[in-house]
Assembly symmetry: C2
Homo-oligomer: 323 residues x 2
């Protein structure tokens, strides 16, 4: 894959809130970055313009010129038709069938490619991160929501409708009440926080009250991690349950796809660290089938905050240097 191409590429993380662009060299070192507000309310044309300017500023900050750079890959939130270069559906941006590759190529005058943001993060871990020894990988990212990406036979797997990897929406409680059936609704940070708030308001004692000074309106992953470190019984129970559901879904995916490696990332995973990973692995090992699949490596993501940028830049190189 493009081993002779030593040019840097630009990876872009297009989110509902922020646009982040990074120039990444052939040793996957980040040479320069730029971050701006997405401003989705201004409409798609304005966002494309902002994307182009952010890419140009990141190239500036890397002390490079456009002609030094091989191309751009954008990781977009939502369903992406990679063949047409179209964002089929991105709720955060309120985009439907928007031809991003065409529009951005015109604005930025560089080769552009496109994929889903979670796929791009998974690609980064597969190419240079925690999964780099393996050809078949599930990437699962646990934060406010739960997303997933699949590399099968050394390629990103998109599926017929380009929506593959939606592990957060697989059902773990087929007989549960509505809103308590899917992995995301059972194990995301959003769910953990809502559960904790309800439990604390129902007079269950918790260190979370102390850590937040009683303000329960902005409980972040770090608060949860701190409460676990203090061995707060309530938070421990909520987080162990969440880890159990994540471990179950990972077991199901490995059972179905016979995977050698699962990489777990996302804000909650990063904040919680090893106790969380251990609980996830315990449920995984208990439930995967056949038991030989316990050999599958279930590991924490290694690229952290840069996974999106680095993954996108690597995908840009892997796709565009062929052209």
């Amino acid at each position: 894959m493009a081993k002779d191409d030593k040019r840097p590429y630009v990876g872009v993380d297009l989110g509902g809130t922020n646009i982040q662009a990074g120039v990444v060299d052939h040793n996957h070192k980040v040479l320069g970055t730029k971050k701006v507000k997405t401003g989705a309310d201004d409409g798609a044309e304005a966002v494309v313009d902002r994307l182009a300017r952010t890419i140009e500023k990141a190239i500036d900050k890397a002390n490079l010129k456009k002609s030094d750079v091989g191309g751009v890959c954008v990781g977009a939130p939502g369903t992406v038709d990679i063949k047409k270069g179209v964002v089929v559906n991105a709720t955060n941006l309120r985009w439907n069938d928007f031809p991003l590759v065409e529009a951005l190529t015109k604005q930025v005058d560089l080769p552009v490619t496109l994929d889903n943001d979670v796929n791009v993060g998974t690609w980064g871990e597969y190419r240079v991160g925690a999964a780099k020894e393996f050809k078949d990988v599930l990437g699962i990212f646990v934060g406010t929501g739960i997303g997933g990406g699949l590399v099968l036979n050394g390629e990103l797997y998109h599926g017929h409708y380009f929506t593959a990897g939606e592990i957060g929406h697989t059902v773990l409680m087929p007989d549960g009440p509505i809103g308590r059936r899917s992995l995301e609704n059972l194990a995301s940070r959003t769910n953990a926080v809502n559960l904790l708030i309800n439990l604390i308001r129902a007079n269950n004692p918790s260190e979370v009250t102390d850590i937040t000074g009683g303000d329960l309106t902005d409980i972040r992953s770090k608060v949860l991690a701190e409460a676990v470190q203090r061995k707060d019984a309530l938070t421990l129970q909520v987080m162990r349950d969440a880890a159990h559901y994540v471990g179950t879904s990972i077991a199901n995916t490995v059972t179905l796809l016979s995977l050698p490696c699962v990489v777990i990332g996302g804000g909650l995973t990063e904040a919680m660290g090893e106790p969380w990973m251990k609980w996830v692995r315990e449920s995984f090992e208990k439930l995967v089938f056949p038991p030989e699949l316990r050999r599958c490596k279930v590991v924490a993501a290694s690229l952290g905050d840069d996974a999106g940028l680095v993954g996108a830049a690597l995908l840009a190189r892997d796709r565009l240097s062929m052209d």
Copy 2:
């Protein structure tokens, strides 16, 4: 794929109880078959000898000679290393790491290839059956157990450890009691029958008592289908629950892999027919994500009893005519 090769191929269904061989022509017509007892107790060498003789008899019955035939594919129960041609693990046969391709090639003097029996059945449906318009397919077979096979990007997907497709062992009740967690333990015929027996013995009235003449020791799929036809409330409840779990697991797989087609086969599906399929589809459509994936076709298998033989013969042609 081997379009110019008009030779017939032999498909073999190697089960724990029976060996069945069939000669199949290039229009996937079965020209001759032969069935014998497997006799796994006699040891692997004896089974290989029996396989060779059964293949030869099927060729005889098709009025052909060995030299007319392009080769053989065996569908084996268990984990198969298709690269090495080895049966890694087959509980029914009590085989571990048995080099079947090498052993059978010597005995039968024809090119031999090998795959898992459920994969072979899925391949048949993909190539000439209910899934023939699609490149990404889940085959799920519901009978005494529940097995699955995956075709992704037009190829059988085996996974790193060659165990892919084990949908029956995915967990739908992470908090359920042991033995009531996996799809197979919630929705196989074995489970439905055990549930019914327990319910009938606990004095719940059921047409099943009438249909079987009170002998509950041998309730087959046809008995369940007949009870459903008679609108027996108890059997309807048990079978609707089973269909709900099957539909949930199918939804999870389609959500994860963004599939355009799922084929459902197996003894229970064949006996139950349309009411069962309708119940499965209802749960599938309710739970799949995103809702656009309701477009995925969830259809009954079309090759019936011949799926194993025809699938294996097609796989033999697709693999061996390249040689």
